[in-house]
Point group: D2
Chain length 185, copies 4
């Protein structure tokens, strides 16, 4: 089964009301995110960044990167800037699938499983896991590579993903990145 | 704002593995469901039943009603059978919106808010609330008119809907059914 | 490659303004439709009826059949009534895919090719062929088993499907119904 | 009613087999496209470029502009490069709506009518007009501001849009750009 690593909403200026709580959690999860991204690059696993455009429909990757770096926490952005050759998808709502190119992209690349890292565990990560599940796309969520605002809801979200969406919830460093060669399964 | 009451997955033969737990919860929630459905009928609020077809693509309302009545718990089905003039939408996955006519139906009827009752709180109800939220459709979930399998996850789901999806989570008997006249807001 | 035969909008009361023109064309196309449906049944090829609900969200198959039979041309309806075990999908707009369960149904049944018969060549048939094409689902349109309102537009529609959507446009009796066994391709 | 002008697939390297025919038509339609774009800018009408990414999921506006300029006909690209403040949406298939952010973008900007210019009349323009029509979004297609490959099919496509999708098909210079102020209708 071919996997892709999907980095969710990490180009963030951290200027909304819950940012303080979130920033602490991102600080903790960032090293595991970076390690799994590095591993994906080494093993030629498809990598896709998906990011909210915060309502600016003229913004593509360069603008979203710049605004995040100009925000309150460039130290949380700079280590996870998308490389030029990674997939990049703009989203306007919480799920990476809602009115985006994501499902088509995954089908075209013969990806049947996504490894979700980024933020926010109990919001965009949960909602994207659900939207993958209804589409019969398998999901893995390394619990040390996702960041939360409310720990209690994040914990419940991880249990929901594991129990009701059959997600593989574990640690980033032992997360299977799948046999990413097209045609194997 | 115009509301509709949506009855989710109540045509259930209760033959899957978690049915035992679920049946107890449905038994408790059924009276509040019936009261809110009755109130909707009195006030001419649009009513829609949405039900899983359990993979049978030839099944419409009559077949789904019959199979549920032929299942393990007809006493949980008979009191909530859809009337002939209610909307009826078939779904194949957990969310009432995923690859169904639901969004189009709501727009055509100028409904901007749905009141979700039925089952399962931490699964189809949560997922449908989320899909409404990303579509900017307001959501109410009367906590006494939804049934759960796992109480801890159901409780977390209700908090997620309230906190992160701005749902109106309260009691069925005081749930606002909105000004349902088209053209008012 | 597994095929399904899809019968579009044949439960029609023929009460709209263009019905007169359409009825003549349906009369001519009906025998070829019936032959290909019969062949599909013999060969156990999946069969799906998709029909507009004309804005009545409480209507399922029984109501749509009855209303069509109560319309202006029961002789055009009776020969093509869906059997109980055929798939049945309600649509509200022109394409069989727009906000319906159709794509999910086809994926679940491992169907990669649809044979479109029914009405109207230059409207629902064309739009459904297009929506199949963008989804990488192959399309066949037997030209003698589809009915039109305007012959010039129907002719252009068939050329568009053939040239730009790579549809197999031919005669019903020689239309390949595919190797419909799951797992063959 | 608020309108937006949508420029379709004009960032084209013109390296596919039908390019020769298409380039002649684009050359003729380009002046009318530029005039309507200029008028939209003067009148603050929302402008959105939608462009195929040709399967490169890492490409955003800068890459798509550069590749088109590096193609066979930079003189057909340079006059219609998107300004930095225009909306920009990537598509992977023919319709501007299929698995893109387009419908959400239009709803957010309270746009109920799109003016389609660009290429190809009998393909992406037709398919996008259809997808707008099923979504109850009004469509205008200035016939002198769209480019075709096959004139006969383009002519049929324009008649289909006018007759069956109620599109406003006319000349660019007299195309109503609507009352673009939010809240008017």
């Amino acid at each position: 089964m071919r996997s892709a690593v999907v980095v969710v909403d990490m180009l963030n200026p951290y200027d909304h009301e819950d940012s303080e709580r979130l920033m602490g959690s991102v600080h903790e999860a960032l090293p595991a995110m970076r390690r799994i991204v590095a591993r994906a690059r080494e093993e030629a696993v498809p990598l896709v960044w998906v990011n909210d455009n915060h309502g600016d429909w003229s913004a593509c990757r360069p603008e979203l990167v710049r605004r995040a770096l100009d925000g309150r926490a460039p130290e949380l952005v700079e280590p996870i800037i998308p490389p030029d050759d990674a997939g990049f998808v703009v989203k306007a709502r919480h799920s990476i699938f809602y009115e985006t190119q994501m499902e088509y992209l995954l089908r075209q690349q013969q990806v049947q499983r996504i490894v979700l890292v980024g933020q926010v565990t109990e919001q965009c990560i949960l909602y994207s896991a659900l939207d993958a599940y209804v589409r019969h796309i398998n999901v893995a969520v390394p619990r040390d590579a996702v960041a939360a605002i409310h720990d209690d809801l994040a914990d419940a979200a991880l249990r929901m993903m594991e129990r009701n969406m059959r997600a593989d919830v574990g640690e980033a460093d032992v997360c299977d990145l799948g046999d990413h060669r097209v045609g194997r399964s």
